[in-house]
Amino acid sequence: MSRRLAASSAVVAIVLGVLLSAPVGETARRPRYGGTLRVEIGAAVTSLDMAAANADEGGAKWEINSLIYDERAADGAFQGAGPFHVTGFEAGKRVALAATQDYRLGRPFVDAIEITMGRAARERMLDLELNKTDFAEIPAEEARRAAEHGVRVSRSEPDQLLALVFTGDGGGTRTPERGKPAGAKAREALALSIDRAAIVNFILQKEGEPAGGLLPQWSSGTAFLFSTAADPVHAKELWAQIVPAPKIVLGYDSGDSLEQAVAERIAVDAREAGIQVAAEGVHPAGATAVSCRLVRMRMQSKQPAVALENFIDVLAGSTKIETAALPAAATPEDVYDRERAIVSSYRVVPLVWMPRVYGLSARVRDWTPPGPGEGWPLADVWLDGPVDGAAEEGKK
């Protein structure tokens, strides 16, 4: 009896798996043109000019521009007519894009893209569940819940690094005052106290992986050489050597619930190791004096050397990186050495690698999650089913 039940369960699982996975990697049905793709984003973009981008709208604006323009120049500027062109723009509210008929790589499948801006993650999730939108980026930590609620979830490779970056140039162990740079021992003690696995498993709900280095395993192949295990005993020993014991102020983006949860967890881990850490929400553009802060960085290239250099460029504005630049034709060993040098200074403490998670409606077909440095490939997706009917259904 139990054997029969097990066999039945296996069959049901296979069928469900095929049915659910088929639209994403669809090859069985022929793509069709037409329809409007409904997209929701969190940022409220006020201008599409990349030169006027700010921290809040930077990522979203880049994605929209990657749909409008064809390619990027050497300096990173967008250029050339892309697969879509702007037909309507309401600052901070809505962007309407229409398919460019004579796009050099071929007309996109969908006729138009309607982007609604300023939708919070919760609203985006709800709209995905209610089929009011076709595409939305959702927080990684919400991926599991979204899937449990019937949302199609697509994940990129983990290419977002959440790291702890100590501000200033450090030096010495005398850091009793707020905002003063923490010394090497203090930085190491704090790095050793952090339980990265707990962050991944509980906060990120297993979306992502612990980070020991500045490059993910899938990119560099050397990430496993960096330890991600917590060592609170050693951390406690190191901290005990620091007299007087400093109080570390850990800053996080006050508008980012994930960063807040991670920062508070770091404070708990540090507390267990006897380290005084106060988590404090700060504005990303603000100049609040903190000892260290959480930084989210997205890989801009699949190439380890390029991605590392890019990270170093980003980090150099926040902390002191004292390693020589990579040679022009850097070998994997060169990349590893430089990565090791940066990590060993404990000025940058990699915490977790997170994927980008997207929610898709059931009618979106041929969606492939973008890689590092790539925009949303919405020109390649097509909408299944009665396009207008689906749209009407969504409006209801």
Partner: protein
């Protein structure tokens, strides 16, 4: 101070003491009543607090048990009881459930004590809470106080534990409410009372741990002593805090220990009772008491004065009567009626004065008879001596005429000479008596006694060193700052002459005559001393008696004259004598003699002087 004044003050004092005692008693009774009322209020508040805690405890237990019984929790327990149960799915559940059940604290804890989800500190997942695994019947335990860890620091909480058992695995639900200012704000307190909570989170007193219903307590440092006392000896303590110098600002605080599961001190509830009303009422009572005392004193003083006057009136009459008697009016009588002690005293006084008058009359009569007898004796004695030569001379004349007529002429002349001499003697005797009887009244004037002394000594200078008799050396010790007195200089001169003559007679073998003057309390003191043979006590006793003399040819009037002069000047005279050493006469004269001289009876306190002077031969006589 008069008897009436004394009586008045006694009345007043008695009244003050009585009123004061009554006022103190009223104040004390009032104070105790208020303290008792305060205590009852505090007891009521403590009882209310305990009821509130008990009610909250039941509420917390029910809510936590409700969470444990909820379907979601049971599903969680079932899920986690599986071999590969994923706890990460539930990491955020506690926040929502706690909010739904209005709990400040809620932790889902796995079978091994690890926190699955925490509402009060979401980032604390994965860490263990060991105490929940201790073998204890959490159902019967109900709720309890405990120090709960929170992100912003430890807090005092009323907690309860529920357990969901699936198979051999337990899921613990630990939930509770924070005991903080919201809890204090929920207590209904009478006017003038307030409650504070000290969270005993540190080994020593920390002002920041003391809160009231609005937040951190102001002037929390003032509570340090009572909190530290409670920390050392948990129980119920009472302390008074004076916020300002004004006693009305004071508050009495009752500290009640809040104990945890292991009877450890977790918190201290401080119930304060303002002393403003008590102090205000006490002040009003005190003010009223002062008013009552003042009015009472005034009335008491008036009544006391009237009463004292009424009581002392007969006494005053007696005093006046006694003064009149003392002033010589022996006919004074006191008119006091009544049968009480005062009346009896007045009656006895009147009887006494009547008896005194009668006795004085009898004494005067006896003295008069004795004086006449003495005068007769002295006259007989004085007259007998010249009469005998007169008789023999006349008899000689008769015999000479009868027997030898030729010698008659010679005898006649001799006898008539003797007769004339004796008759002259008789005339002198009569003259002296006459002179004594005619002692003039003093004519007062300003007198320097030293001048009189020097004059008398000069008068007798020739006789002190007369040829044929042993010399007498006069020694003068005169105080140059002697005050002037009102006296009759001639009479004083005469009295001093008598004393000097007396002294010279007392020193037939010569000696030293010492005259000393000195200021006295009331006037002037004069001393005349000789180094003669001295006097016996019997002689001293009779020395100032008129016509008494120890000399062969004295009249006994010299010292009587001296005593009379001194008495007329309102002074006094006494004699001190020691056999073989000498005699001293002392005279004290007032600056201003009384208008009417008073005759003092001569007395001699021989026994008293004997006690003073142990020598048997030393005598003193005062006139």
């Amino acid at each position: 101070m008069t008897f009436r004044t004394k009586l008045f003050w006694m009345f007043t004092l008695a009244l003050v003491v009585s009123v004061g005692l009554v006022a103190a008693a009223v104040t004390e009774v009032t104070r105790r009543s208020f303290e008792e009322m305060n205590r009852q209020h505090t007891d009521a508040l403590v009882a209310q607090f305990q009821r509130e805690v008990a009610q909250r405890s039941d509420d917390v237990v029910h809510r936590v048990q409700g969470i444990a019984d909820a379907e979601g929790t049971v599903r969680m327990a079932i899920d986690l009881s599986r071999p590969k149960g994923d706890v990460s799915v539930y990491v955020n559940d506690a926040v929502g459930v706690a909010k739904a059940h209005q709990l400040d604290f809620l932790d889902f804890i796995s079978n091994d004590g690890s926190i699955i989800s925490s509402a009060e500190w979401p980032a604390r997942f994965g860490y263990k809470i060991d105490w929940v695994l201790q073998p204890e019947d959490w159902v019967s335990r109900g709720s309890f106080l405990m120090k709960a860890d929170m992100q912003e620091g430890p807090a005092l909480a009323l907690m309860s534990v529920a357990r969901v058992r699936v198979g051999d695995k337990d899921l613990y639900i630990v939930g509770g409410e924070r005991l903080g200012r919201e809890f204090l704000a929920s207590l209904v307190l009478p006017t003038g009372m307030r409650a504070l909570l000290y969270r005993n989170l540190d080994p020593s007193f920390q002002a920041a741990n003391l809160i009231d219903s609005t937040g951190p307590a102001s002037q929390a440092e003032q509570f340090g002593p009572i909190v530290e006392k409670e920390q050392q000896q948990p129980g119920e303590q009472i302390a008074k805090i004076n916020w300002t110098a004004d006693a009305a600002s004071a508050e009495v605080f009752h500290a009640i220990a809040l104990l945890g599961r292991q009877k450890e001190l977790l918190g201290i509830l401080l119930i304060g009772s303002s002393q403003h009303d008590v102090v205000t009422l006490q002040r009003q009572i005190a003010l009223l008491s002062v008013g009552v005392v003042a009015i009472g004193l005034l009335l008491g003083a008036l009544l006391g004065w009237w009463g004292a006057a009424r009581v002392t009136r007969p006494v005053r009459q007696l005093v006046e009567g006694a003064k009149e008697v003392a002033g010589g009016n022996w006919n004074a009588r006191v008119n006091v009626r009544g049968k009480n002690e005062i009346g009896q005293l007045a009656k006895a006084f009147n009887q006494m004065t009547e008896q005194l008058v009668e006795q004085r009359e009898r004494l005067l009569q006896a003295e008069r008879v004795a004086a006449w007898r003495e005068v007769a004796r002295r006259l007989a004695h004085e007259l007998k001596n010249p009469l005998f030569p007169l008789q023999t001379t006349v008899e000689n004349l008769q015999r000479a005429k009868e027997q030898s007529f030729g010698q008659f002429e010679e005898v006649f002349h001799e006898s008539t000479g003797i007769l004339l001499a004796e008759i002259e003697n008789l005339k002198n005797i009569v003259s002296r008596f006459s002179e004594f009887s005619k002692m003039p009244h003093p004519e007062l004037g300003s007198v320097q006694v030293n001048e009189i002394v020097r004059g008398v000594v000069k008068l007798f200078e020739a006789q002190f060193g007369a040829v044929g008799r042993p010399p007498i050396t006069p020694e003068l010790h005169l105080d140059e700052h002697l005050p002037l007195i009102e006296a009759d200089a001639a009479l004083l001169h005469r009295a001093l002459e008598n004393l000097v003559l007396n002294a010279m007679d007392a020193m037939p073998s010569g000696g030293v005559l010492m005259l000393r003057t000195s200021p006295a309390e009331s006037g002037v003191h004069l001393e005349v001393s000789d180094t003669g043979t001295g006097l016996t006590s019997e002689e001293c006793e009779r020395l100032f008696t008129p016509y008494y003399t120890t000399k062969q040819h004295g009249t006994g009037l010299g010292l009587a004259i001296v005593q009379s002069v001194v008495s007329d000047h309102g002074g006094r005279i006494w004699v001190e004598s020691e056999a073989g050493v000498g005699t001293s006469f002392h005279i004290e004269l007032p600056k201003h003699p009384p208008r009417r001289s008073v005759s003092f009876p001569i007395s001699f306190d021989y026994e008293k002087e004997k006690e003073k002077e142990p020598e048997p031969e030393k005598h003193k006589q005062e006139a």
